[in-house]
């Protein structure tokens, strides 16, 4: 199946990346221009706590042109740009929440690795535990019945 990931990735990169990138470039000219003008941000913060915070935040954000990689892992150019953006905003003193909000406003919920809890994702969050609970009930009834048969 890994073969398939790789094939899909290849196809996706080949087809989607230019389209998406062009789209982002059109949709967010200020971001592109901004990244060219702003002072370069270091690849890592010297303060370990800030660095850990940046890394943690990067892991929560999805690389938009990759197949399920976070911007922390991805080697794509877009991910590198987004890492820079995150680090610049951290350097400006913004909170994690503010940075996430900023990115969600731009790219939508798609950029969040952890889906938001809202009416259209309730089912997503509840299903595993609903199945567990239902399974528990069924198990309870089954055990009761099986016990009654033996008695």
């Amino acid at each position: 199946m890994k073969a398939v990931i790789a094939l899909l990735r290849m196809m996706l990169r080949a087809l989607a990346a230019p389209v998406l990138l062009a789209g982002f470039a059109l949709a967010a000219p200020s971001f592109v221009a901004g990244s060219a003008l702003a002072a370069p941000v270091a690849d890592s913060f010297s303060n370990p706590a800030t660095e850990a915070r940046a890394r943690n935040l990067q892991r929560q954000l999805r690389c938009l042109v990759c197949q399920g990689e976070s911007i922390d892992e991805s080697g794509s150019t877009l991910a590198a740009d987004l890492r820079h953006l995150v680090r610049r905003q951290i350097a400006q003193g913004k909170s994690d929440q503010q940075i996430e909000d900023y990115l969600v406003a731009r790219y939508g919920d798609f950029i969040l690795m952890k889906p938001p809890v809202q009416p259209d994702t309730w089912l997503l969050w509840l299903t595993p535990f609903a199945v567990l609970a239902a399974g528990g009930v069924v198990a309870w009834v089954t055990v009761k019945k099986a016990g009654a048969r033996g008695a």
């Binding site: 199946m1 890994k2 990931i5 094939l7 899909l8 990735r9 399920g68 889906p115 567990l132 069924v138």
Partner: protein, 642 residues
């Protein structure tokens, strides 16, 4: 010539699969011994012809026959021989042919192991024949690997460099052996429902179990191999992405695991007979759904599916028929098969039932996590991502709760268990868990609750398994096998915990002679040389591992460029000392001889895959015990079970 030969052989295979389907289904009736013999023969013939077709395609790849479109698009003369061969299944058409080959191998195994064949086996062969026919039609009409291209190009387009790797060469066959192997239990389940005679079907779980075990072992190895490949190939030290394609293999594994447990009770006491049937159906259904997800392109985007719907649509219809048919059969016949076994609330049966509840919930979690974004996008165009944080909050606690209960199962007797006695035999395991937690607390800083919990759990699992192995000298192979498989869970857990919680990493831009540190290691970058591989050129970094002023080892991570495919690839360098991995990936050229270097130290990383191997070993022992008992199989006698 060769392409047409392959085509012809495939057509013969299709004809044989149809014969096998009809004869097999007819042989499920009592008075049809001839049909049963024909079905067995057709199964062997199918295996021969599909193997022949696969051989023909492999030959075309080896000799680089670019007049065949599949070869031209997915191979090149520059590749080493081994990757020409693995290129056969490194593409859609070839991998579907591999899919059918594995199906044919299992059909051959069923026919061969159950010589002569009973009604149940014959019915199972019939279903296998139907599946083979459906997939052969799929290949011939939508994914024919033998189509010609005119004019033939002088050079092929090559194979994605990611796939040019020994781990990935082996990965798909292994995974398919598991994935498609679930079809055997599915076919047996469907046959049991079709025959519908309780006297004949009561042993269906026993008949299906060896095939399920083989499939489970292969699936376990396949998943471990894929994860290991992702670890060393993708260059950032991760081992599991919760990628939909990975999830597609995890779901059948979870259900197959549930089956192996539930079937134990079905064989021993007749409990959960219909539930086990349902699991067999669900396991292979998830394989089919996984095939659809991966093959239809629906994963990259719902719109990719809409733009070229033939393949996806074909598989979708196939899934609907297979799953719908099996479930309808189940709804119709299952109620009459329930045995009504009796057992106490404290018993092995209850433990196995709980095991199944948790495994199914874990599978449901992977299922919604994988499909929800697709469904939501298709329904109203909302795009969300379901990434690792979701699974950390749902899958992890459910699985953790399951692990907590694992040691109790083997200690409870069938029908009626003694919880207090079971608990008493677990004191040493509890002690080991406490020692592990305290050791983690004392040795490792910063202190973390998660690490303590994970290692306590590993101690609990491994401790209980050791007690099982010690206390059961000369005991049944199956008990020993279970103990080993459960210990494997603990081993993997330690690897996962060590790697995720204690990984240290460093990213630095270094010039020749400069050093960087990562975890306890000091690394000196000694520059980059150009290397010429068989079908790539590479920047090879020389990185010296320093101890004081001395060089203790040299690591050589590479950044490769494959001209035929026009792609870049990382080749990481990993040095394993004891159970700790030092992991290096070479990044961008920053000019002036300076390069980005990513370094990770992952404690206990090798345990992740070692644990997978241990689990597979447990499966093999169980299989061995099972095959050794053949002939003299003890009857499923509830009275002596215990």
């Amino acid at each position: 010539m060769i392409g047409e030969l392959g085509q012809l052989v495939l057509c013969f295979a299709l004809a044989l699969s149809l014969v096998m389907a009809m004869a097999g289904l007819a042989g499920a009736r009592a008075d049809a011994a001839l049909a049963r013999r024909i079905a067995s023969g057709a199964a062997m013939g199918l295996l021969v012809f599909v193997a022949l077709a696969f051989g023909v395609l492999t030959y075309a790849f080896i000799v680089s026959d670019f007049s065949i479109a599949d070869v031209a698009h997915n191979s090149s003369t520059l590749k080493p021989l081994v990757y020409k061969i693995s290129g056969v299944w490194g593409n859609h058409e070839g991998s579907m042919l591999l899919w059918v080959l594995v199906l044919a191998v299992y059909a051959g195994l069923v026919a061969g192991l159950k010589r002569g064949g009973d009604r149940l086996t014959s019915g199972a062969l019939g279903i296998q024949g139907l599946l083979a026919a459906a997939f052969l039609l799929f290949i011939l009409f939508t994914s024919n690997p033998f189509l010609r291209i005119d004019p033939a190009p002088f050079e092929g387009a090559g194979l994605n460099p990611l796939l040019q790797d020994p781990g990935l060469a082996m990965h798909p066959p292994m995974l398919y052996a598991g994935y498609v192997g679930l079809s055997a239990a599915f076919s047996y389940a469907a046959a049991a429902l079709m025959v519908g005679d309780p006297l004949i079907t009561q042993n269906w779980a026993r008949a299906a179990r060896p095939f399920m075990l083989i499939a489970w072992i292969a699936l376990t190895c396949g998943i471990a191999l894929g994860s290991w490949w992702a670890y060393y190939e993708l260059g950032w030290g991760g081992f599991w992405f919760w990628d939909p394609v990975e999830n597609a293999s995890l779901m059948p594994w979870l259900i197959a695991t549930a089956f192996l447990h539930s079937a134990l009770a079905t064989e021993r006491t007749g409990a959960f007979r219909t539930w086990t049937l349902l699991l067999a159906i669900a396991g292979f259904s998830l394989s089919l759904i996984g095939t659809f997800l991966v093959r239809s392109g629906v994963l990259s985007s719902v719109h990719a599916f809409a733009s070229d719907p033939t393949r996806g649509f074909f598989i979708l219809v196939l899934i609907a028929l297979a799953i719908g048919g099996a479930l309808a059969l189940f709804a119709w016949r299952a109620p009459s098969l329930e045995s009504g076994a009796s057992f106490d609330p404290v018993s092995r049966e209850t433990a196995l039932l709980l095991n199944n509840v948790f495994l199914v919930a874990a599978c449901a979690c992977v299922f919604v996590g994988t499909l929800y974004p697709l469904v939501l996008d298709a329904l109203n165009g909302t795009k969300i991502s379901v990434g690792p944080p979701y699974f950390a909050l749902t899958f992890a606690p459910i699985f953790f709760a399951l692990l907590l209960l694992v040691p109790f199962g083997p200690r409870l007797g069938w029908k009626r268990g003694d919880l207090k006695a079971a608990w008493r035999t677990l004191y040493p395991a509890l002690g080991l868990a406490a020692v592990a937690a305290l050791a983690v607390l004392a040795i490792v800083s910063p202190r973390s609750v998660a690490a303590c919990g994970a290692f306590a759990m590993a101690g609990w699992l491994i401790g209980a398994s050791l007690i099982d192995m010690r206390g059961r000298k000369g005991a049944r192979a199956s008990a020993f096998a279970a103990a080993i498989a459960h210990a494997g869970l603990g081993v993997t857990l330690m690897g996962v915990a060590g790697t995720t919680l204690w990984r240290s990493e460093a990213l630095a831009v270094v010039g020749p002679g400069q050093t960087m540190t990562v975890g306890p290691y000091t690394l000196r970058f000694d520059g980059v040389t150009q290397v010429q591989g068989p079908n790539y050129t590479a920047d090879r970094a020389h990185v010296a591992l320093m101890d004081g002023g001395k060089v203790t080892a040299v690591l050589l991570p590479e950044h490769r460029f494959y001209p035929a495919e026009g792609q870049d690839m990382n080749d990481t360098a990993i040095r394993t000392t004891g159970l700790r991995d030092l992991y290096l990936a070479l990044g961008d050229d920053r000019g002036g001889g300076r390069f980005t270097l990513r370094a990770y130290v992952s404690p206990l990383a090798p345990l992740i895959w070692l644990g997978g191997l241990v689990m597979a070993l447990g499966g093999m022992l169980s299989l061995w015990g099972r095959l050794r008992l053949r002939g003299g199989e003890p009857a499923a006698d509830p009275a002596t079970a215990g």
